[in-house]
């Protein structure tokens, strides 16, 4: 049995597919592909596949990760990739299929890019810089146990922050995985709380799923 890890894109209109719907969608993709995908052996057998990280509705991604198994050991990985891509919906595309190397628990961080659009770009840019240089970035986060206040600052790596035209372009690394998960909307919310400038968050995209040492998870 081949234990495989697919990296796929979710862009364009596919960003409106919710995580729950993605599950259903992937089941149908596997069925349409007619690949010898491994079925669970329980009372209600279904194709086995699992997604490494959930992606928020409305976010694009170039690096989503899904694990699944193929029962035919001799099937070339390129063939599997091609056959899945033939039956994928618009905006979804497998970019790579490789054997599973690390455990899912090795995932520690994710990288995001997004645009902050405003008519008052300069002021917004200053507000972002102010927030980033403040000693702590506190925000209320809903968790399973209720609402708790977290400080984003220590766990947040800013990779890019620049004003281009009417847009502040951001790129940041945030904790992700089984322990802590911070969504970039938390940062945006903190920004909204820190200033009065009207702006929109657009083109949010996950660009990397990483391990603790910032290496690509594979």
């Amino acid at each position: 049995m081949l234990r495989l890890r697919a990296t796929f894109e979710k862009t364009g209109r596919a960003k409106y597919i919710s995580h729950l719907d993605l599950n259903r969608c992937m089941l149908r993709i596997f069925r349409r592909s007619k690949l010898p995908v491994w079925y669970t052996e329980g009372f209600n057998p279904h194709p086995y596949y699992s997604f490494a990280l959930a992606l928020s509705l409305g976010f694009e991604s170039s690096c989503e990760i899904m694990d699944f198994n193929i029962t035919d050991d001799n099937m070339p990985l390129d063939t599997i990739k091609e056959r899945l891509n033939e039956v994928m919906p618009e905006g979804m595309r497998i970019v790579d299929i490789a054997p599973q190397i690390q455990k899912i628990t090795a995932i520690a961080k994710a990288e995001y890019t997004f645009d902050l659009k405003s008519e008052e770009t300069d002021e917004l840019f200053k507000a972002v810089e102010n927030l980033l240089t403040s000693p702590e970035i506190l925000i209320e986060k809903k968790t399973k146990k209720g609402i708790k206040t977290v400080d984003l600052k220590p766990d947040m790596d800013i990779l890019c922050c620049e004003a281009v035209g009417d847009t502040v372009k951001m790129k940041m690394r945030l904790p992700a995985g089984t322990k802590t998960n911070y969504n970039p909307t938390l940062f945006v919310e903190a920004l909204r709380n820190s200033c009065e400038i009207p702006f929109d968050m657009e083109n949010t995209r996950r660009t990397g799923i990483l391990c603790e040492n910032n290496e690509k998870f594979s």
Binding site: G12, R13, A14, Y16, I17, S18, D21, R24, C25, L27, R28, I29, F30, R31, R32, K34, Y39, P45, L57, G58, V87, P89, E90, G91
Partner: protein
């Protein structure tokens, strides 16, 4: 900003945004510069409901199979998105091209239930198309058409539509689009097109028909202009086994009501239950061969990736080769790990072998439509089911491991007495007693008998089209009587809102004067009337009052046999004489054998020019 950007700007503010942006697998994209006729197929309810409709899937694929036609889908936006659309000047658009539907040649609605009428007006308004047909441009564009079961009496909608398409749409839709294409090239205008369209069999152009009324409110006479036919005959497909069926469905991202492959196994019904409109308007009975059903099932499962298939029909167990068909299907579905579901099974021909087959597939609940609580009433409505049959079926089911049964009944049927209502509770009790009397009943589970009680709605083109509906007070009294008659907690009773049923009756039996009421109710904020959270009966009553129309006249009045009914000029191939005969037989509590046993002379064989069964 183009329309797509405008939509996307707000899409994340609404529930289930994937309903509003298209891009689903199986949706058909064409180059609009290369098509001659564009058709916006609209379902007057939300995506989740409309996407489940099998007729839309058929006609969508059928039209798109023609290279020069492009058919796109359009649904009513839910209230949250409608608000955004109105605030941001987003006109109603089609899901494939995301172009506004006001630019389309045809705007077609499928009318599946009366309570979707206000949604049609709302959708036209959202699209920026005048809701009244008379206010539309003289140019040949924006032809607003409707089909589906409700157009067998489309009079309460007559002012809003240019064309109604009667009967089965597979052929006539293409004929209509071809005519349009030809006349558009000749530079014809709307009226010229409608005149010619009215000559196509099955096409009803309401503006060419005029009604005068007597003082008592009944119809005095109907006059026809522009050489349109005196009687418009519905269309049917002669060779049903070879009729077009889609090879692919649009596969939604979000979960829809019927999220599976459906394969139509037969059309029409042999039974002739006297309340059932579908049982008459879809005649004659025709079925697909097991081979065709198997091929269509396999093809659709493979192309869509669905792992569930449902057989669609009015009564699947009436298929003459049901055993062969199921064996063939189960061989395929079991091998491919596909779930097969079989709705619409009848009580009387439910064999042990059939149950075994179903069980192999899936163990879901069992549902029986008994409809009447006593044998006398079941004879009145011609539900040819005896208590013995119900009991023996339940026995088979219980012995086969089922512990819950759902029973459908109707309340307010013609000739109904309190005895019939109490009979519902007693029948449910006897089924429960039967369960406990069975030694090898399922262990460790508590039985449940669900009784679902709908309110009878008299419908056109049925033997009960002449009948009146019980008043709301009477229905509420009967509902209470039923609740009081149930003695066990293991029997659960649910019933319909009588206000909803009354509005259904009014709109089902209504005439052209109701157009104003529908318009007024919509103007006053009525929409999504079939959704209990949106249904505003008080507003409807206000609309009736404003228009000077008494709803009781339509719902609670018995019609005379010789009265001109609002749908008498529409010919659904079953004769009015037959309905009168059946109505009289009903009142004598006498049943009529089903079509396979004996031809009841409904007239459909004459209209088709062949015997239904040889």
């Amino acid at each position: 900003m183009n329309l797509k950007e405008k939509i996307e700007k707000h899409l994340l503010e609404v529930q289930k945004p994937s309903r509003y942006i298209g891009g689903e697998v199986g949706s058909i994209i064409k180059d609009k510069s290369k098509v001659d006729v564009r058709f916006a197929f609209c379902f007057p309810d939300t995506y989740d409901i409309g996407m489940s409709h099998i007729g839309m899937k058929i006609l969508y694929s059928l039209k798109n199979a023609r290279e020069n036609f492009w058919c796109e889908r359009c649904y009513a936006p839910d209230v949250d998105f409608e608000k955004i659309m109105r605030e941001n000047d987003i006109p109603l658009y089609a899901l494939e091209s995301l172009d506004p539907i006001k630019e389309f040649d045809f705007i077609g609605f499928t009318m599946q239930y009366e309570l979707s009428y206000t949604n049609v007006l709302n959708m036209l308004d959202l699209a920026g198309i005048p809701v009244f047909a008379k206010d539309r441009t003289e140019e040949l564009i924006q032809i607003v058409v409707a089909g589906g079961p409700c157009v067998c009496n489309p009079e309460p909608l007559a002012d809003f539509f240019d064309i109604f398409i009667l009967g089965e749409g597979e052929e006539v839709n293409l004929e209509l689009m071809d005519l349009y294409n030809e006349m558009k090239k000749q530079g014809a205008n709307r009226l010229e097109f409608l005149r010619k369209a009215a000559q196509i069999e099955g096409v009803y152009v309401p503006r060419f028909y005029n009604f005068e009324y007597k003082e008592d409110g009944t119809i005095e006479k109907m006059t026809v202009s522009e050489n349109a036919p005196e009687k418009v005959i519905k269309r049917i497909i002669k060779d049903f086994d070879k009729v077009f069926y889609p090879e692919n469905f649009v596969v939604p991202f979000t979960e829809i009501v019927h999220d599976r492959v459906s394969v139509e196994v037969l059309r029409g019904c042999i039974r002739g239950c006297r309340f059932c409109q579908a049982g008459f308007i879809y005649r004659p009975f025709r079925e697909k061969s097991p081979d065709t059903i198997y091929k269509e099932t396999k093809c659709l499962c493979e192309n869509t990736g669905y792992d569930e298939v449902s057989l669609a029909s009015l009564s699947t167990s009436d298929h003459s080769q049901i055993d062969e068909m199921l064996s063939k299907l189960i061989d395929y579905t079991a091998g491919e790990r596909v779930n097969l579901s079989l709705p619409s099974l009848r009580v009387d021909n439910f064999t042990e072998e059939l149950l075994e087959k179903i069980k192999k597939v899936r163990k879901s609940g069992l549902t029986f439509a008994a409809e009447g609580g006593t044998q006398r009433l079941r004879d009145v409505i011609n539900k040819n089911v005896t208590e013995e049959e119900i009991m023996s079926t339940c026995k088979i089911a219980f012995e086969g491991g089922y512990s819950s049964v759902k029973l459908y009944f109707m309340m307010g049927l013609p000739t109904e007495t309190d005895e019939d209502i109490i009979g519902i509770a007693e029948l449910a009790q006897r089924i429960l007693d039967l369960y406990y009397s069975i030694e090898n009943r399922p262990k460790g589970r508590s039985p449940q008998i669900s009784v679902s009680c709908a309110t009878f709605v008299p419908k056109p083109f049925t033997p009960f089209q002449f009948e009146s509906q019980d008043t709301r007070e009477e229905i509420e009294r009967k509902q209470k009587l039923l609740l009081d008659s149930v003695k066990s907690k293991k029997i659960k009773v649910s019933y319909h809102d009588p206000d909803v049923s009354q509005l259904e009756a009014v709109l089902a039996k209504g005439d052209r004067r109701l157009c104003d009421v529908v318009y007024t109710a919509w103007k006053m904020g009525c929409k999504f009337d079939s959704w209990s959270e949106h249904f505003k009966f008080d507003v409807w009553l206000e609309a009736f009052e404003k228009c000077g129309i008494n709803p009781a006249y339509y719902a609670n009045r018995k019609a005379e046999y010789d009265e001109i009914l609002p749908w008498d000029h529409l010919d659904y191939m079953v004769s009015k004489e037959f309905f009168i005969r059946e109505n009289k037989t009903a009142h004598k509590s006498v049943t009529t054998p089903h079509c396979r046993q004996k031809c009841s002379g409904c007239g459909v064989n004459k209209a088709v020019g062949r015997e239904c069964f040889c």
